[in-house]
């Protein structure tokens, strides 16, 4: 399994150059290993060929609850066994009273049988139609909800000065641009625009400057917009608080500084680690993570006994026995699973030029814990974790 993990790392360029060179040399000399690498490449390719979308089980309950009641003359067909395109067509082909929606500003493409109040004017649609409402400057409240679905007919006052454009792709759209004008039918391929008479400061073309009286439903809609805006502000505040809590827990990602001393850089760190491990019987490296600064090494040991942590601590002490790393801060985290004789023991440590900032300590601690948790398969309930040990100077004093 370890070979397979390293082959996967080689595939993504996640090995250090010496590690990659060593593995490539083995691949060249070992046909069985080379075949395994080829099989891994085929597996990755096969994954990318799996279906990305699957036929869903039906219309979600949440969507059914949100729709107005529908009178059906034919049984509702489910998605099972049908291509998605056909299912979408059936959804909009149900015989039912047309839905009614209100568009205050912006644009929408409507499919099916819909009565749309666009800028205050009713538009009856049977087909596929784009409607654009460009409101007058002072006509519409700023809001995140430009389309309102209503389950009863609302006749809003025409927004004087608004420009409404109806474009038909399929079917027809029928509308009455003003109270005095007859109904117009917009056919396939046609686009009609009209500016609603009236509007702020007497602006707008048409038959007069008077605007229609506003019905009671408009204040209701505006009150709902007020409520939504307050809820949105509250949600944003809570999200900001949560982000602060998360940042306190996880720390801030630490990029590699440009001027980091040479021994701490990934290749040198790994070289010194390997040399120290040669003098540490029973200890071996499980993983080295250098995606952020500093590198974190995770070790394990085959030596039993209560003193296994000291044996692994000795590895980073050996790394700096000759002062190569200078005045260094070390953070360590030890963990073992509670599996009796089969217990797995891990020790994660990081070394950084001292002194280390609180931010750096928090982030490194989070990374180390995540690595160890990953290795113990997130079995927090059966993990016996030891304390983060803090920092040690080269003399071993804290």
């Amino acid at each position: 399994m370890n070979d397979d993990v390293n082959l996967s790392r080689l595939l993504d360029g996640d090995l250090t150059p010496p590690e990659a060179a060593a593995l490539r040399a083995r691949l060249a000399a070992d046909p069985a290993l080379a075949a395994r690498f080829a099989a891994l490449q085929r597996t990755v390719s096969a994954l990318q060929g799996l279906e990305r979308e699957l036929v869903p089980p039906g219309i979600p309950r949440a969507l059914q609850a949100a729709k107005p009641p529908v009178r059906r003359h034919v049984p509702l067909l489910t998605y099972v066994g049908l291509p998605m395109m056909l299912a979408a067509g059936l959804l909009f082909a149900l015989r039912s009273p047309p839905a009614r929606t209100v568009l205050l500003s912006g644009e929408t493409v409507v499919d099916g049988q819909v009565e749309l109040i666009a800028g205050g004017l009713p538009v009856t649609i049977d087909g596929r139609v784009r409607v654009i409402v460009e409101p007058p400057a002072a006509g519409v409240r700023e809001s995140g909800a430009e389309i309102i679905s209503m389950d009863r007919s609302h006749l809003l006052a025409a927004l004087g000065g608004a420009v409404i454009t109806v474009t038909v792709y399929e079917g027809t759209a029928t509308w009455t641009p003003s109270a005095e004008a007859p109904a117009r039918v917009v056919a396939v391929g046609e686009s009609q625009s009209v500016q609603v008479p009236g509007g702020p400061a007497g602006g707008g073309a048409g038959s007069g400057a008077t605007s229609a009286p506003r019905p009671a439903s408009l204040p209701e809609a505006l009150a709902r917009i007020d409520t939504l805006e307050r809820q949105l502000a509250g949600a944003r505040l809570q999200a900001g608080i949560n982000a602060g809590i998360v940042q306190t827990h996880e720390g801030v990602a630490q990029p590699w500084p440009k001027d980091v001393p040479a021994p701490f850089r990934p290749e040198a760190f790994r070289r010194h680690l390997d040399a120290a491990l040669e003098a540490s019987p029973g200890a071996s490296v499980v993983e080295v993570d250098c995606d952020e600064f500093p590198c974190i090494a995770v070790l394990t040991t085959s030596a039993p006994g209560a003193d296994w942590v000291s044996g692994l601590e000795a590895v980073h002490e050996r790394m700096n026995a000759d002062g190569t790393f200078g005045d260094v801060g070390v953070m360590g985290l030890a963990a073992a699973t509670d599996d009796g004789e089969d217990a797995r023991r891990y020790y994660a440590f990081a070394m950084a030029p001292g002194p280390v900032s609180e931010e750096g300590r928090a982030r490194t601690g989070f990374r180390g814990k995540a690595l160890v948790d990953e290795l113990t398969h997130e079995g927090q309930e059966d993990r016996e974790a030891l304390e983060v040990m803090g920092y040690l100077s080269p003399t071993g004093e804290e």
Partner: protein, 165 residues
């Protein structure tokens, strides 16, 4: 004339255009996919008014982010409860799969092996290889270091290789 504002997608259109994607994620990444599916759409429809159609994220990207977070939350709740849920029957390869993968049996074997991966490894493998989500974004959504996510990807691949050879 005031600038046009883009309209939010209609909920029905959202389901029609992206229901297959949401179901594929729930089916492969959750041991109770029907529940995950229903809850995911409740979250999506509640979050829809806050989606900015003129922003940098496409509808698909926004939708995948919401569903990904939802599936991670479900996994964490199960972990806290100590539930042990076995992988259910495998995903059907689908009508187009055999042309791409050579035989339906190959893709069925791969789906079976995928279903048996530990859930955190499977999530990274599916999101990254099937849905092309960058590892950095997976790490950000799951609150993990990139190194941990990479580790899960490599272990997941290695486990698949072991199961298939």
């Amino acid at each position: 004339m005031p600038a046009l504002r883009l309209a939010l997608p209609e909920p029905e259109r959202l389901v029609a255009d992206h229901g297959g994607l949401v179901w594929a994620l729930c089916r492969r990444l959750d041991p109770e996919p029907e529940d995950a599916w229903q809850e995911a759409w409740e979250k999506l429809l509640r979050a829809l008014p806050r989606f900015d159609p003129g922003g940098t994220a496409s509808v698909r990207t926004w939708l995948m982010t919401v569903v990904h977070r939802h599936l991670v939350d479900r996994h964490r709740r199960r972990t806290v409860r100590g539930d042990v849920l076995e992988a259910d029957d495998v995903v059907d390869p689908g009508p187009g799969a055999s042309a791409r993968l050579g035989t339906a049996q190959d893709s069925a074997a791969l789906e079976r092996a995928l279903a048996l991966l530990p859930e955190p490894w499977r999530r990274v493998v599916v999101l990254h290889h099937l849905h092309e989500v960058p590892l950095e974004r997976i790490a950000a959504e799951e609150g993990l270091p990139v190194g941990t996510v990479k580790s899960r990807l490599h272990r997941g691949r290695a486990a698949l290789l072991e199961a298939l050879t």
